[in-house]
Symmetry: C2
Amino acid sequence: MRLIAYMVAASMAWVAGIAYMGIAPARADGGTVPEFGTSLPPGYRDWRLISVAHEEGKLNDIRAILGNDIAVKAYRDGTIPFPDGAIIARLAWNYVSSEENNKAFGGPQSFVAGTPTNVQFMLKDSRKYASTGGWGFVQFNDGKPIEAARLSGCFACHVPVKARDFVFTKYSR
Amino acid sequence: MRLIAYMVAASMAWVAGIAYMGIAPARADGGTVPEFGTSLPPGYRDWRLISVAHEEGKLNDIRAILGNDIAVKAYRDGTIPFPDGAIIARLAWNYVSSEENNKAFGGPQSFVAGTPTNVQFMLKDSRKYASTGGWGFVQFNDGKPIEAARLSGCFACHVPVKARDFVFTKYSR
């Protein structure tokens, strides 16, 4: 329980950091949390599952979409637009054939997650990111954020799903 | 926090129910929890992500593998065999092309989770399930457990990965 309590506290402090315009707030343990986009959100790998997908083509990945508590609650309640503080994470791994699984199934049919490619996040802050639908977009390669210039296309790509608050992924029951 | 504390308590009580040979134990809230296999484990949809996969062929699904706290800790620590109480869940959905995503990407490359197919669980109880590597296997279709006779092939299929305690899925970082 202590670990979970810490994770929740750290995650909430991290979100609070954004609400306070990026000024690092006090954490329960006396430390500070970084501004959104400068480092991976604490505990994101433990967030709950929203859905999964596979992209062919140049991406050739298999992916999981996770959400922090605010995002998952909004999904389940059908809340549109997402409230401030919601964060959606897209984890992706190289799409690889599994010989081991294929033998078990008796045919070449099984594809699994290989090495990670990158991790993307979209964070709702309706004031700070007002010009991009209220969403801030970041991507981490090997745990490091990529340059802001390379994120300029994110929002444009999400505009076709404006009716769902610019979010492509639907929640999988 | 109250919800999370309840979920953890309910999940632990559920696991404890198995350790006590299926006798429904007292829950923190005074209720009882069902024996493994009779109903879906409480809160399993909120468990943490282990990995993802896609199966072609007759299955034609896209899947997420989740674990309860005991299972995820064992995965991360590299603990083999998994300790009693570990539960691994395999959720699967029909594999469907996403026209919406394809338009955004500019090509027919995107596949997402459609309607759910079924949910499978493997639960570690080294005493109760000694004859099948310490794992009990169950499957739920539309929330209802399928007949035990249809689960007889589960263990045999998992034998090739005996070195990993009969678990196919590897943890995705």
